[in-house]
Every structure is written in structure tokens, then in C-alpha cells.
Amino acid sequence: MSTVQTLAPVSPPGGVFASVFSPSWVKPPKYRQRFTPAALSTIPDTKATLHALLRSLLGIGDETFIYGQDRWVPNLGGPFHSHFESCSPPDQIRHPTLADHAAQDAEEAQSPLWRNLPRWRSVVGSEPLKKLLAAVLNDLMTEFVTWSYAGVYRHSLHLHLEFWVQHLFARITQKALASLDGSAASSTISVPDAEAKKWKDMATARLGALRVDELFDIVVDWDTTAPAIDDLRHFTTNPATRSYLTHNFANVLQTRLLHPGASTINILQVYISVIRSFRILDPKGVLLDRVAKKVRRYLREREDTVKVIVAGLLSDTVDEDGQPSTPDPETLADLAVELTNNSAQDGGADASEFDWNDMDWVPDPVDAAPDYMKSKNIDVIGSLITLFDTKDVFVKELQNTLAERLLKNKADFNQEISVLEHLKIRLGDAALQGCEVMLRDVLDSRKVDNVIRRDQGMQDDRGRPRQADDVQLHAKILSRLFWPTVPEQAFHVPQVVLEQQQTYERGFEALKQSRKLTWLNAIGQVEVELELEDRFYRDEVLPWQAVVIYAFQEADANAEAKAEAGFATSPAQKTVTSLASELAMSPTLIRSACIFWVSKRILTEVGRDTFAVLERLPAGIDAVMGGGDDAGAAAGAAAAAGATGGAGRRADDSNATAAAAAVAAEAAAAQAAKEAEEAERQQKMAMYHQFVVSMLTNQGAMPLPRIAMMLGIVVPGGFPFSNEELKEFLAGMIKEGVLHVAHGGAYKVSS
């Protein structure tokens, strides 16, 4: 071991700066130098003192440090504070005047450093002391950058840094070396330009490394942190630093973002910020390309990515009053804004590599990956809609979401139209033809609806209904081929509605020959008005909910007839099973509807699965709760519903009651949705069943892994089961007698 090596900084400068820059410890000398033990023991002490003295000379750690005179000089600007946060805007820092220099010199002359240097030199010698000085200065530069700039993002930061290097760091270094060499430490020593530039480059690299380290936070807080990207632009000027940046950032993304704990919306939000910030950092998109690969691959694996993107694109940017709506953390409303603001201004197509007339053409950066393709789509929307290999995935989801929105009872669909037009520019007319047809359907339906209703005498010329209390039927006519399939939840509609539907159908067939209407009763909205003995209720509900409450009205009419005939009258009462057979609806759906009405305090559950109309609101709420509580438990609602119900009863608090009932209603609706999902799952299972049977019939006996592999290839959209689940599924088929296990564990069709 060379003795001088003990001079090296004990800990290399923070892990942050370690990987790009060559290790900063002092290289061992060519020949050994021997110190007396006494001299050796002074070295750590010397170093610590040197460090402390230089630190204060360079203004590190001192938030009140000022270069020169502390006053504002008109036309020249304010003084330089070494602490960036307390400094005036960098472009207003005064270029030091002679007075400043003089003041600073006087200040510095008081430092014990100048007295100590000759003394230290006599102990350890000139060369080792210079190395000691170098090591300390090296540490101090990093220390300064971290202390002054970490977490501080302001414009023209490099001016500040340059000032510090030029007037403090380089000058004091020069001065110290001069005093070591014994030449007169004159105050007029100026730093040669070449040397100053080297120092500046070094400082910029330190700053860059710091910013790379902070990059994830910078990106997450994007917009307020924009100046930091400017700092990085001074840094990423050569392939080594560029690859350091991308490598480091990709790793940070991997550990901090791309894990199951982050929601898809979060990931997308960060990805959007990454796109925005990296476009400024490197307009050619090479850095972005390298960083985003992993994110894109990860996003592709997430099932709900496409849903989130589409929902974001179609989200409302303004609320009903035309005010910008408050951002909802559940949707990426950012995307909608971006889409409307940014109508492909960078004109895509003619910016190709083959535009020979492009006089501003520059080659791809040297560090572009071999498979780097200069894509036109490096803006936010473009990146997101090209996330998937085919447009189909995206277009399909767009159709689903669009269908949902178009079927709502809205006054106009301007937002949908504008989104669609913007997307057309990017995806092409052909891809969005289906969506276009859907939009046209809905817009045309309005006209057709008017014509039919007038022709069939369902309304008068001004579009008002003929009879005030008639059921009013409006229809949206959808072209079946272009709409996503709607889950079929068939049920009987009331007679009055059925008659209207038939009239409407006649009108339609008269208007458009050789076309037929099929009614989708499950989708739509119904405005209901309920007149109860003590109150009046009006709301817009779903068709199946309306149908259920309508059934009570009929029962009520019967009861009234009885009452007139002198029978004892009681509110209409129905059981779930009787309703189910009457309306040909699934009992779960009926339950869900009834509980919905219980939550609105229109119905009450008088016995298990038996509901009655609540004609008068009871004074207390025990009656309601008796039902509601029961309903909650029976519907398998969360225990919370029951608990809230109990509390409500004790506290006699009607709010709690209503809340509990609402929770129960929600639970019941969830139950109904679950049932629909279950039905779909069953259907899928039947399909897998068929796949397995067909595969084993034709390809002979196969072991489990091969079955799983083949299913993965042939099932459209991929096979979602794990091997364990598949094993269970196959076991089920064996139980049914469809399969049996042949020798060697291979599955075989029983014939």
C-alpha cells in the first residue's frame, strides 16, 4: 500500500455520482513517499481543517454567503448568493465590479488558510498537499451542487453555477495553488479561460448527475419542474451521459413505477409526464424511445390500460356550466384536453426521412439504437394509441365506451363528435368507420323518431304528446352490425309500452322498407313519476327498475278495485318469485330492482322476498329498517350494510337508514352484475370445453402443459387460466365423463 493512498477520501462521493465519473480518489504515485509517523498522523487532521476552511471560503453551507458587496446596484443587478434559493434571479446577478472583487479579497484574506498552507507544506511536502487539496476540492464541488441545487428548480441555473465556478471555485483553487508554489498570492490572479471551462464542465456534470438522480420526482411533478430539464440539456451532450441518464431512469421507473402496487392511471400519468418532459429534453425522441420501451411493454400487459386511455379521451373536460371540470383522480381527463389542444400540429406525414428538400435534416443521434425508428407519434396521444400492436384493440374499446355514452340521454353529442374527428386524423377514417356509423345512428334516430311519432299520431305537430298521462316512447335506432353486442337481459315490458312499441315498429317499417326493429328493452332510461298517498316521486331510472315498480302499480289498481267493492284494502304486495314469473326476469335482477326502490323509500320489504308499496312514510323508521336490514343480509350485502342499519335503528336517524338502504341497493345491483358476469364466464367455460374436446379428439392424447400451450395459441384473446386452474377444469371434465387420463398422465377423450 502506498501511503499516499490514505489521503484519498475515505468514502467515495455518494452513490449518486459513482457510476458515470471515474473514481475520484487520488491515483497512487509512481514512487513511494515515506512520512515520519508524526507527519502521517497529522494528515487526517490537515485534511479536515483544509476541508472546513475551503468550505467556508467557497460559501458552502452558509445561506448568507455573498460575493462582494451586499447591495443592489442599479443597472448591474443584485449580489451573488452562493445559496441558490436565496439568490436573486440568475439573470440579474451582478457581474462583479472592482469594488466587489476588492471586498471579496479583503474578506478572504482573513481566512487562516493562507497562513496554514506553508506550514502544512513543510510537514507533508508540496506534492502530497496538492493532492490533498485536489481531493478536498473534488468533494466540495459535489457538496456545493447538492447543497445549493438539490430540489431547487429555477430558470438559468447554469448562470449561477458558472458564476460560482468562475469567481469562487476556480479563483480560489488558483490562489491556493499559487500560494503553495510560493509565488506571490496576488489578488489580481485571473483564471485562464481554458481552465475555467474545464471546471465548468465538471460542475455541469455534477449537476447533471444530481438531476438524473432526481429525475423521477422531476417527472412526477412535471410542469413546475420544467427548469430542471433545462439543466439536464446541458448535461446530455455526449453518449456517455445520455446512456447514463436513460439507464438510470429506466431502472428507477422499474422499481418505483412498474409494480403491481401502482394503478394503471398512475402509470399512464407518469408516462405522459415522461413523454412531455423528454420531448423537451431531446426533441429527436431517442432518449424517450429508450426509456419508454419498458413502460410500454408493461402497459401492454395490463388489462385495463386500453379502458383507462379510452375513458380518458372521452372524459368531459368541461362540466355542464362550461367551467373546466375538477379533475377526477379516476380518469385521465388530461388526455381529452391534450387531444383537443393538439390537433396534430406537427403535420406528421411530410416529416419523413425521404423528404429530400428538407434543409434542416439532421441524422439520427449516434446513440440511437439499431432498431430505433423515428416515429411521428412521439406526442402524448400518438404514443398512447400506438401502444398496442393493432389498432383493433383500441378501436374496439372505443366503440364500447362510445356506445355507453351515446345511449345516454344527452342533449347533444358535440364532445363525442369532436373526439372522433380528432382521432380520425390519427387513426384514419377507415379504422373509425364503425364509430362513425354509431354516431350517425344516434343523430339520425332523433329525426326518424320525430317523423315516426308524428306519422303514427303519437305526438302532435309541435312534438307534444297527445294525452298528458300517456307513456311516451322515444327510440334510438342502432345498426346492429356496427354496435358492440349488448348483454341480453330480456323481460316483459308493460302492456302500454308494448302497444307503443308495436305502433312505433309499424311506423318504422313504413318509413324504411325491408328493415326490421328489434327492441332492446334492457338498455335505455325511463323517466318515472310516482304518486303516492303522501308524496310525489320523480326520477330517471333504468328500464328494469321501472318495469318492476310498474308491476306494483297494476297490483295497486286491483287492490283499489277491491276497496271500492268494500274489501279491506292494503298496499300492493308482491314476492320476488311472482314478479320473476310475471316479468320473465331473473330473480336476482328483480331483487336488485326492489332493493333499489327500497333505498328510494318507495317499497318496503314486509317479509322475506316480499315487497309492498310504502304509501305513507312511517313516523318512525322501524318499519323500514326491519325490511332494509333484512334485505341487506339476504342480498348478501357487506356486513357494513347490516351494521349501519342496526346503528340507524338505535339512533333513530333516518339518514343512516337511507344510507343503509342505498348500500343494500348497491350491493344488490353488484350482485346482479356479478350474475351477468357469471353467465358470461359460463359461456366462456363452455367454449374452452369445446376447444379441449376438439383438440384432444383430433390431436390425440396430450399432457397438461401441451394442452395449456395449445390453448394459449388458439384461443382468441389468449387463455386466461394458469396450469393449476386448467388442471381443475380438466378434472371437472373427467368427472363429467368426457375425458379420462391415459397412461403417462396424458388426457384423452373418452369415446
Binding site: 367454449m687 369445446q690 376438439s694 379428439t697 383430433n698 390425440g700 395449445m710 395459441i713 388458439v714 382468441p716
Partner: protein, 182 residues
Amino acid sequence: MDFALEDTQNAAPGLPSMAEQQKLAVAPRKADTQSVTKRLQSELMTLMMSPTPGISAFPDADGNLLHWTATIVGPKDTPYADLNLKLSFEFPGNYPYTAPTVQFKTPIYHPNIDFSGRICLDILKDKWSAVYNVQTVLLSLQSLLGEPNNASPLNNEAAQLHQNDPEEYQRKVLARHQDIDD
């Protein structure tokens, strides 16, 4: 042939060379494979969603969907009743504009099928049309089993026997049949 290779040396300039020709031929085909795969995927889906009793088909394990194996169960009231007959389908790169190559893998005794399993059926030859699919081909073959076309036989003996000696025909059918199990 060999001279085609040598010819590249002497080819007139301006004509595409051998290598270029290969490239020219390959490029459109590659683009095509995707649409073929798509079509076959949807045919498979139709077969799965609405299975027809007695016939079934499934892609082989090579993963590109261009080779399938199909199974026909011999229809009742024919000499082939309840026999499992396996076939191989091979789809060309421009399917469905060209017919697939279909062969019986199970040894079969039939007037229109030769001993190596080749089939003489008009819709697999000149009468092929893009509206046919795996399901229709299998249904045609199933009905061919019951009603051979004795006018244009590949197997003369079978045609003769089918017309003149049904019992002997039945015996030969069963004698030739052999379940293949892989």
C-alpha cells in the same frame, strides 16, 4: 431445375435476378400469412361456438395454424358407421382463394379415395370457392362417405363392389379400417 440456378449468371441485365425474384415472391406472401391466420382463427372459432356432431377439426401444435387435423365420425346407415376417420388439412398461403389440401390419414376403402388417402372431390379441386370453409368441406366429405360418386372413381374395385356387392364392400371397408392413435 439446375439450369435455373446457372441462368442467373447469364441473365440479361434488367431482368430480376434469382435472388431478387425470390424476394419479390416472398414479400407479399409474408404479408398474406396474417390474413390467412386471421381467417383460420375465425373459422376455428365458428367450429367451436357451433359444433356439428360427427365432425371436428383442430390446428396442429406447430403454432402457425396452417396445418389442421380433422375427425369425421362415419355417418349412421353407411358402411362407415361409427368409424373414426382422421384427415389432414394443409392451407396454402393464399387461402381461402385456393383450396386446402385435404387427405385421409386413416386407411379407408372408398371409390373416390385412393390408398394413400387422396380424395377426388370437385369442391377441393376446380369447384373450390372462397365461401367454402373447413366445416363445409368436412360436411361434404361426410356425405361423400354415404354417397360415393361412382362415375369418376379413384378406386375402381371399390366402385364396382359398391354397385354390385354391398356385403363384400362392407367387409372390405371394415378390413381396411384401422384406428390411428398418436
